[in-house]
């Protein structure tokens, strides 16, 4: 694994970013960046949501647990939400989630929210490049290992019977 203190690692480390983009604005903007032949860092994996308000904080936590180093959320500017106020809901969750992550020892640069309209292809490029650079400086996110769950699989026979006085005969 990576050692953040090792200068060699710092040189070779490439962050992995998961980006949750709203279908109506930021995703379209990313499309525009593509058709306009803009180039930006390839470190981002875009997940299209119908609205930034669809972003469940569990998605962010899951992305971090799966090994990503940063999460970017892209939504419509205030007043532009296709569903009227999904972006405001996203902002409320994002604000509280960021405080929770800080308490867990995760740097606040690892979660970022940007309002990017469908015409702002260039902003997609600059935000991704900037976040990538910040994460390169920060190094990889190193969560503590979570022990494997050892519960019995739910795919078992429907009836479970206990052998009465088992083993004592």
């Amino acid at each position: 694994m990576f050692d953040t203190h090792d200068p060699e690692t710092r040189k070779t480390f490439e962050p992995r970013i998961v980006a949750f983009f709203c279908n109506w604005c930021t995703y379209t903007a990313a499309d525009l960046a593509g058709t306009s032949r803009m180039t930006y860092e390839p470190n981002v994996r875009v997940v299209r949501l119908m609205c930034s308000g669809r972003l469940d904080p569990q998605f962010v936590l899951h992305a971090f647990r799966q090994g990503c180093d940063g999460v970017l959320i892209g939504g419509c500017h205030s007043g532009d939400c296709h569903y009227q106020e999904g972006n405001h809901k996203a902002f409320r969750r994002y604000t509280l989630l960021k405080r929770l992550l800080t308490q867990m020892g995760i740097e606040e640069e690892r979660l970022r929210l940007e309002w990017i309209s469908a015409s702002e292809g260039d902003k997609v490029r600059s935000v991704i490049n900037e976040m990538c650079e910040q994460l390169r400086r920060l190094g990889p996110l190193r969560l503590e290992r979570r022990p494997e769950l050892r519960h019995t699989s739910v795919n078992q026979p429907d009836r479970v019977t206990v052998e009465v006085g088992g083993g004592s005969q």
């Binding site: 953040t4 203190h5 469940d56 904080p57 569990q58 962010v60 936590l61 899951h62 971090f64 647990r65 205030s78 106020e85 405001h88 809901k89 902002f91 409320r92 969750r93 604000t95 509280l96 989630l97 405080r99 929770l100 308490q103 867990m104 020892g105 995760i106 740097e107 920060l138 190094g139 996110l141 190193r142 969560l143 503590e144 290992r145 979570r146 022990p147 494997e148 769950l149 050892r150 519960h151 019995t152 699989s153 739910v154 795919n155 078992q156 026979p157 429907d158 009836r159 479970v160 019977t161 206990v162 052998e163 009465v164 006085g165 088992g166 083993g167 004592s168």
Partner: protein, 329 residues
Amino acid sequence: MSKPKVGFYWCASCGGCEEAVVDLAEAILDVVNAVDIVFWPVALDFKRSDLENMKDGEMAVCFVNGAIRTSEQEEMAELLRSKSQLLVAFGSCSQLGGIPGMANFFTRESILAKVYNDAPTVVNSEGTRPQEETTVAEGILPLPAFAPTVRTLDQTVEVDYYLPGCPPPVKLIAGAVTAILESKLPPKGSILAPNVALCDECPRKETKPDKLLVKEFKRPHQIQIDPQKCLLDQGLLCMGPATRSGCEAACIGGNMPCTGCLGPTDDIIDYGGKALSAMASILDSNDEQEIARLLNQIADPAGTFYRYCLPASLLHRSILPAKNGGVKV
């Protein structure tokens, strides 16, 4: 026909779960008539050797409460697993980590420093710390080691069923015991409680507005709580929307908001994330600065949303110092 053999054991917990068993009141006599209690060190004189002398699978079922922190707890969990046909994680601590699981916000070293050196009531001029062995006349005795992190029971050994709650409600315990005795258990891995949110059985359900929005978050000591009205609608952080039902809204009956001890329903993968989502969404503001200010009224988001479930959460614990570019905690 011999009676099924049953055991109870505790690990990192407060004893409230043992109390819950006693709270079965007269019903415990039916349980005692139906089963043989062969291991229950809290209530009766049993030793580890009694357990070691049992055959594998000798106990029909063993109820284990408490999280796993020390090497002794881990050994006991493994021993109980091998001696029991069914192992039931009993209570929030063994299911999710519980209150002792909040130790995962801190490092092992900072806990030891606080408890053995820095607490205002501690006098420890020699700086004595817990040891893992001690020398007596007969030789060297090993002592339990204090692990860096708290684990749930199912992060330690295989668990068959879960009885949630802090402590599990008597009705759920009685239901579980009956299901075991009558061989009417659901598939293994199930949580022996209803799979719906607490709001569903809340007596104040009717007073919850169709569109729930709050202007401010408040803490219970800051307001005179209306005993009839939905607690969320009063601005209190009531975890009902994210929490499994089964307690018959006991805390709400006492005019206090739900703190989430029964843990998540089956569809939730991270309780804290879901509870946070529910609470942040009901804030009635679209102004970014105002949102930040009002959300600051939630004093300790991580502690509030992961109160009973930090070790079971996706993040499992806070990041240890020096892992992320050397942040010192």
